[in-house]
Symmetry: D2
Amino acid sequence: MSSAAAKPKHQPGRHFLQIPGPSNVPDRVLRAIDRPTMDHRGPDFGRLGREVLDRLKPVFGTEGPVIIFPGSGTGAWEAALVNTLSPGDRVLMFETGHFATLWQEMARKLGIVTEFVPGDWRSGVDAAAIEARLAEDSTHSIKAVAVVHNETSTGVTSDIGAVRRAIDAAGHPALLFVDTVSSLASIEYRHDEWGVDVTVTGSQKGLMLPPGLGFNAVSEKARSVAKTARLPRAYWDWEAMLGINPTGYFPYTPATNLLYGLNEALILLVEEEGLPAVFARHQRHGEATRRAVRTWGLEVLCRNPAEYSPVLTAVMTPDGHDADALRATILERSNMSLGNGLGRLKGRVFRIGHLGDFNDLMLVGTLAGVEMGLATAGVPYTKGGVQAAMDYLGGNR
Amino acid sequence: MSSAAAKPKHQPGRHFLQIPGPSNVPDRVLRAIDRPTMDHRGPDFGRLGREVLDRLKPVFGTEGPVIIFPGSGTGAWEAALVNTLSPGDRVLMFETGHFATLWQEMARKLGIVTEFVPGDWRSGVDAAAIEARLAEDSTHSIKAVAVVHNETSTGVTSDIGAVRRAIDAAGHPALLFVDTVSSLASIEYRHDEWGVDVTVTGSQKGLMLPPGLGFNAVSEKARSVAKTARLPRAYWDWEAMLGINPTGYFPYTPATNLLYGLNEALILLVEEEGLPAVFARHQRHGEATRRAVRTWGLEVLCRNPAEYSPVLTAVMTPDGHDADALRATILERSNMSLGNGLGRLKGRVFRIGHLGDFNDLMLVGTLAGVEMGLATAGVPYTKGGVQAAMDYLGGNR
Amino acid sequence: MSSAAAKPKHQPGRHFLQIPGPSNVPDRVLRAIDRPTMDHRGPDFGRLGREVLDRLKPVFGTEGPVIIFPGSGTGAWEAALVNTLSPGDRVLMFETGHFATLWQEMARKLGIVTEFVPGDWRSGVDAAAIEARLAEDSTHSIKAVAVVHNETSTGVTSDIGAVRRAIDAAGHPALLFVDTVSSLASIEYRHDEWGVDVTVTGSQKGLMLPPGLGFNAVSEKARSVAKTARLPRAYWDWEAMLGINPTGYFPYTPATNLLYGLNEALILLVEEEGLPAVFARHQRHGEATRRAVRTWGLEVLCRNPAEYSPVLTAVMTPDGHDADALRATILERSNMSLGNGLGRLKGRVFRIGHLGDFNDLMLVGTLAGVEMGLATAGVPYTKGGVQAAMDYLGGNR
Amino acid sequence: MSSAAAKPKHQPGRHFLQIPGPSNVPDRVLRAIDRPTMDHRGPDFGRLGREVLDRLKPVFGTEGPVIIFPGSGTGAWEAALVNTLSPGDRVLMFETGHFATLWQEMARKLGIVTEFVPGDWRSGVDAAAIEARLAEDSTHSIKAVAVVHNETSTGVTSDIGAVRRAIDAAGHPALLFVDTVSSLASIEYRHDEWGVDVTVTGSQKGLMLPPGLGFNAVSEKARSVAKTARLPRAYWDWEAMLGINPTGYFPYTPATNLLYGLNEALILLVEEEGLPAVFARHQRHGEATRRAVRTWGLEVLCRNPAEYSPVLTAVMTPDGHDADALRATILERSNMSLGNGLGRLKGRVFRIGHLGDFNDLMLVGTLAGVEMGLATAGVPYTKGGVQAAMDYLGGNR
């Protein structure tokens, strides 16, 4: 990082923001955010609020309420916990990677007892392990199971339907919390059908907005449990929100301009492109990316093809080759940001985001930035990754 | 409020957003927010973060750190409490109006014991009462005194320096928390000089941004106390912020685009107009507004001239005249939003915001909207308020 | 004017752009212009072009074609002349003010022989004089009559229907050209009904756009005459435009982003507010302004009430009081731009624009800026102009 | 083209606007254009005008004046002609392609006698032919030589320095006019050093603006000749501009918001990236593109490597393969616009723009769109073009 005094060199052309979120924000969404702020207690706001709250439901796959907080996805994690749990409650979590670890750390900071099933940061949640642990828990001391749908640090997805089936098979009443921060609106998701109690997400990935909004979709069961949960809460309290939201208003000042953008993004996703097309596009771009990676002779971090992420691909650099040096080279020479290795993966992987407002030619440009960067940075690789991606993309529409 | 289906009639010209916040956002700030989102872990972001965090200090009157949360001012209230207090701690608060009441309710929800000195919603904090109460508290059971600098629901300011002197006179170690949500960057404020321990604010008033950011300025003493405070906290935890902020980065995803806007707003306030000019402008507009109100024969809610707010003026409607009906008339006929009466003031007052990005002609337009609205709505008044304001403005530059 | 080095002092709040054009541009129009430029030969452009060309027709009151040039209203003047006239042709024009004079000078530069009926710059076109002159012209040496609908330099309108009747009464075949640069979309206009052959306008007044587009609405007769007109023309040639416009395309690169804005402005004017409401609003604001002027004891430049402009009001300053000094005072102290006296009116009048995206409270703010400016600049006046305007506005919706 | 009723399918991600102009407009320039329109006669405008007029000079390589017209490049062509020529004057032009042909047609429409040296639309200007023709013209009946620097329809550049030497070698006093519509600010250009008398350009290519501004840089000699030139002119008249421009103002309403954008674009080009870097970038992208084309086995339209355009590459499709069908396929499947074949090249070439606000990854994405499109459209080609471009780009910084 240069000093504050050193002005960065101007780089022409569009920056390629290929971190796995914040994702590229469509121009229409940025322009919507640029509208004058309005009275959050006036009639125009009520109309906006009702529209946005309705348009969100199909994205979560729910008929129930979705709550919008001014805050980040991290805040939405906290909201899920403090509305449903009491000090000392036990939660079963699964170490899929950095963000699962951070969520677990947050739970402990808030006074929750966590059981953290160890993971290798290359695999998703093991539903059988969950079933086994819950089956043992005859006293139902475990109050909730909390998992990450798409682990942003590793590019590994977990099968949420299977987690639900595991809980049911164990006949256990635990709540199910799912972090969809980097999956929602990019990967198909079914809050109601999968019996999720709290779905957590943020604005800056599949929803194609700048960061600044956190979301909870909540089940009837979660809402009922919240009545007796004793963790202190005020800002994140669901009931204050749910009491007034049907009118389109919020209990405290909402992030008005981001809501303008959210409404526009939902129109793009749900009404114009259509969610099935959005999901298929992300799948296709994930596959094209992995073909490039394999052609380069590099290894995708995710071990299990059934768990490949359509949203990002984490790529391992060969031993002795620092992934962060590669990223710095690519940023300087190709005006592209890639995601870094987080936590124990620092320096060992780089992450390619292929989510949000994105298309084939942006993907090829992205992969070209990586392929040219491998050469410049002296990372051993085999040419042809971009070509492999194009071969796939060209034949798959 | 019309139904979702009823599209509002288009109203030509610029909307007059004269609620006491969100305030009018300058075009330059909106355009800054409209820039593409960037990598919040890249070098450009670090530069932005350091700039913004530095530029904030003079606005708070502090050499110490200022913390920025993605969230609202309500979140910043919560941050002040959960970082410094433990369950069952006692806090002395003062009922200046609706927001002081909400803050007190929040404290109680979070497990704090509050002593809430009753107020008449027309006056500021009585420093003598605080001194008396603290002097009684020989066991130092009171851990903090929490007051509102400018009560947005009433248009009454409190003398924070006097509160500090009262605490000192009582020789009491209580922390001092101050809500400056609607005063910061509009009314002179001296976090360091007044010995404030936590200053709480939001983005959408004097800082001339859309809502979506909350702030805490924290003293060394507050930070030290935080080490042993036991309220659970994670999202709002200061130390996680303060550990990484000197590099310009944040522990979780910041609200990037609002930070673009914040930097631009600080340039406007601190470097272009200059804070002394900003403060003088708000004083002048407050006085002009009150002259209009008095000419109309209406009563300013604030009883004590020393406590008049330079940011907003709450005006009482005569008995039998609903302030909300008046506001609806003005919105429909003059395309202007005014603040409603909150809590016990519902229907009895309307609030004129004269803060943020505002000037003389906007103020006259605002007052004209009120004066014409009084006529239309059949509220008894005497003509000439706008003229009185102009007489004052014309002679006072 | 300060030197290039001297940076202007920042002025808070919204600038009041109360020159009689460019007018205040709605935020929605500015945001539309801010969209990425598109391929002007691609299918999306064709759709845009057809929409815009269709939406323009009711604003001109025509079923015939409207031509859009990248250029200013001055260019559209030239287009009217070069498409229809041959070197040495004679045109009857009327000296209503500065812009009528400039148009006449342009015609002479282009090789046209002009007869310029003298005027006092305080009155509109005298239709009887036109009839008399045409009646004399038994050889039909006069090829066209060219008049200004709303003279921007004086705030005087002319009765175009009366001009048409005068031409008809004289039984003369002259073409009728009308400059509507500052009237179109603010004052009712009927190109077809009034038998206008070429209507000339620009984008930056009633159409609420930045400057950069010029327009010609053309009659069948004008188009037919154009076939034999011999002034050289290429850029402004109608037929090249009319040949391709039905497809939504243009013969050379159009000003794409201004067309985005034009489409949005037309939606606002025609579909949302509605042209009758737009016209009534301008009438109302003109009357309110004149009441203020009269109360101040100042003289409206326009002599004849039937010719008052709903778009701007030119106000005479008393002898010995320089209107430009007054304007400079108002700009510096009240952040408002007013129109200057042009040509022979320099220093003797100032012009208040009350057109475009404008509303009651903006008008009161505008008039307050004038009233306070009169005091500051030491121009003798009587207080109460703003009050008089409010009295009128308050009772007239 | 679909009917007006058929709404186009939404395409996610950034559109690739790879026509050879309008080019991709930087976000900063679009946001600058989105600022509120100002008084074009006020002091802030004067400052802006002076800044813009000064910043333009190095881009043209001139110390002399540059004139800005509201209009397109086509208008700037007309301005060059009508300011310097009289009816019946003879101009020597060179058929480099479609735009040279259009300029010649315009000259004839305006009453100029043109000598149009035939060309094959695959080569630049033959300076020797010019010298020979001028040498013959002992009576100096030829008043001007007019050539195109970068023929946008063919991707062929001409050596302007060589044209100047040819004129000098013939000892002929003809003026030299150069169209730089698609070269200026992308290819090095030296108005003064090459003795150009009128340089013509537009805003929408190298200057990275939306269309809507035309420019003339004029020599002292041209300005002197203009005094006696007799083509009628008014809108395009240089002297009216040059009389007032030194103050930063314009004789008629300028296209204010595009001037905001122009100032920002000039800061990007001249002060941030730097013109030498801008020129080198375009050269590099041209070479990378041609390597791709050759690898595909397709033919670059430009015959002579010394004349390759750094701004665009026109590519011939094999016989029996319609270039427009290919372009439609690419637009639909890859969300990219390419330039069509113009005039006699219709259906036989497509044109790849690699100019304006552009970088390596955008170029690879662009070439990938072509390569995948060739496959989809069934045009015979050899794979590997994108790879060849990457090989070159990767090694050339």
